[in-house]
């Protein structure tokens, strides 16, 4: 057998993730992504601590509906390169990583689907490169500096999890977020534990590989001294001027970015957006409602196509 990155992936990963792996050098890093189907592109962006696997049920459904589907793994997660120094990561750097991939693939008319940190990074790309983007979907994310989610103000468990030295211990040595953390943030935990949890854990196998799981939380603005405050201020300002067709989808049971607060704030910033459409799901709503979310996106894009044809 010829040795390749594809057939050296652990069996458990290959069983769930059957797509052809592709790699690009972006902004100095090796990024894994998949690129399936033909048509206008749908780019699916994940957050912490997941990777493209989060969208495994959605990819084939969107491809069958006549879309090209591109799913990158953020540098530091999934099958992408995982830097071992905290200072390798920044919000702007991750947005630049995505920008590099979108330019290399020369994607235009993108439907950008943003979840968790895929929101701040993906929406920053969209606002800086509006000519490449056709529409947006936002799910369990945010795009403004303050106030933080109530969940993010609590010491137990969120601030404690990534506190100095405790983050490297709980999330690094003990994979608290990559394993049990995702488990606690889905609705059907039995199904998740049986079908996917081990695969998420297998892609972040060592403490050093899990660095970004405690680094990303430290970039969430909690007060006026936050590192990314100005970027989030810019993002909210740009979004409030944005006329891109937008779809808002939220997990009904989301305890991190609760629907009542966060989906409504997106609706206020983007009053032309459709939704919010509530589906079964905590923070990782794709694990519970992947096909339903794919359907919402598919119908939304079909309506956009019809609108363009009738013009």
């Amino acid at each position: 057998m010829e040795l390749s990155l594809e057939n050296t992936l652990p069996e458990a990963i290959r069983a769930l993730w059957t797509y052809r792996p592709r790699y690009a050098n972006v902004n100095g890093w090796r990024m894994h992504y998949i690129d399936e189907g033909e048509g206008d592109p749908v780019v699916l962006l994940h957050g912490n601590p997941t990777w493209g696997l989060l969208y495994r049920e959605m990819v084939s459904l969107l491809v069958r509906s006549g879309r090209r589907v591109v799913v990158p793994d953020m540098i530091g997660f999934g099958l992408s390169e995982k830097p071992t120094r905290e200072h390798a990561h920044s919000l702007d750097g991750h947005a630049a990583n995505l920008t590099a991939l979108m330019r290399q693939l020369d994607l235009t008319r993108i439907m950008l689907v943003c979840h968790d940190w895929g929101g701040p990074t993906g929406l920053s790309f969209a606002m800086a490169n509006p000519a490449r983007v056709r529409a947006l979907t936002v799910m369990s994310t945010w795009a403004w500096p303050l106030p933080p989610a109530e969940f993010h103000t609590r010491i137990f468990p969120w601030r404690m999890m990534h506190a100095p030295l405790i983050g490297p211990y709980l999330l690094g040595k003990h994979r608290a977020l990559a394993g049990r953390g995702v488990y606690l943030s889905v609705v059907d935990r039995e199904k998740f534990g049986r079908s996917a949890q081990a695969v998420y854990e297998a892609t972040l196998p060592d403490p050093a590989s899990r660095l970004l799981t405690w680094v990303w939380p430290r970039w969430i603005p909690l007060d006026e001294n936050a590192r990314a405050l100005e970027r989030f201020q810019w993002l909210e300002r740009e979004l409030s001027q944005c006329k891109l067709p937008t779809l808002i989808i939220w997990g009904r049971e989301d305890e991190v970015f609760d629907a009542a607060t966060f989906s409504r704030r997106f609706k206020k910033i983007l009053p032309h957006a459709e939704g919010p459409f509530l589906v079964t799901g905590r923070h990782f709503l794709q694990e519970d409602s992947g096909p339903e979310i794919a359907d919402l996106i598919r119908h939304f894009l079909n309506r956009l196509d019809q609108g363009e044809r009738s013009q």
Binding site: E86, I155, P157, L165, P168, Y169, L170
Partner: protein, 133 residues
Amino acid sequence: MTGVIVVEKPDLRGKRLSFALAEDRVAHYPEFRDFFVRAFDLDRKGLTEPGFVQAPSGLGYALIFLGRSGEPFPSGVEVHAIVDALEPVAEETLDRDLYAILRWMIAGVGAPWTTEDFDRTGRLYRIPAAPPA
């Protein structure tokens, strides 16, 4: 009580420093850096020597503080177990000691950080060293 005490520099002959944990941003919450400065007199000692603690197992640990241009000292810290030079570490002992050292840190940082919240977080994520409720 955390069972962790600050000690003088131990005799390191026949020993090695076994890397256990690293933190690049000890001031992510500034009160954590303030704690280490107080606990090890770092404003006076700076980089002259590591801080040393003894953990509940009796094993010694070196806390090596790191500086970074443009940031107050220390910017980071590494925790190393002091073990017999050619012997592997006892991983369960190391994990229990690390938990105790972090618990001691939280107690020293003080309110609003509490050892109760640390233990609750440890139990939520099923950390073996976390004490039962």
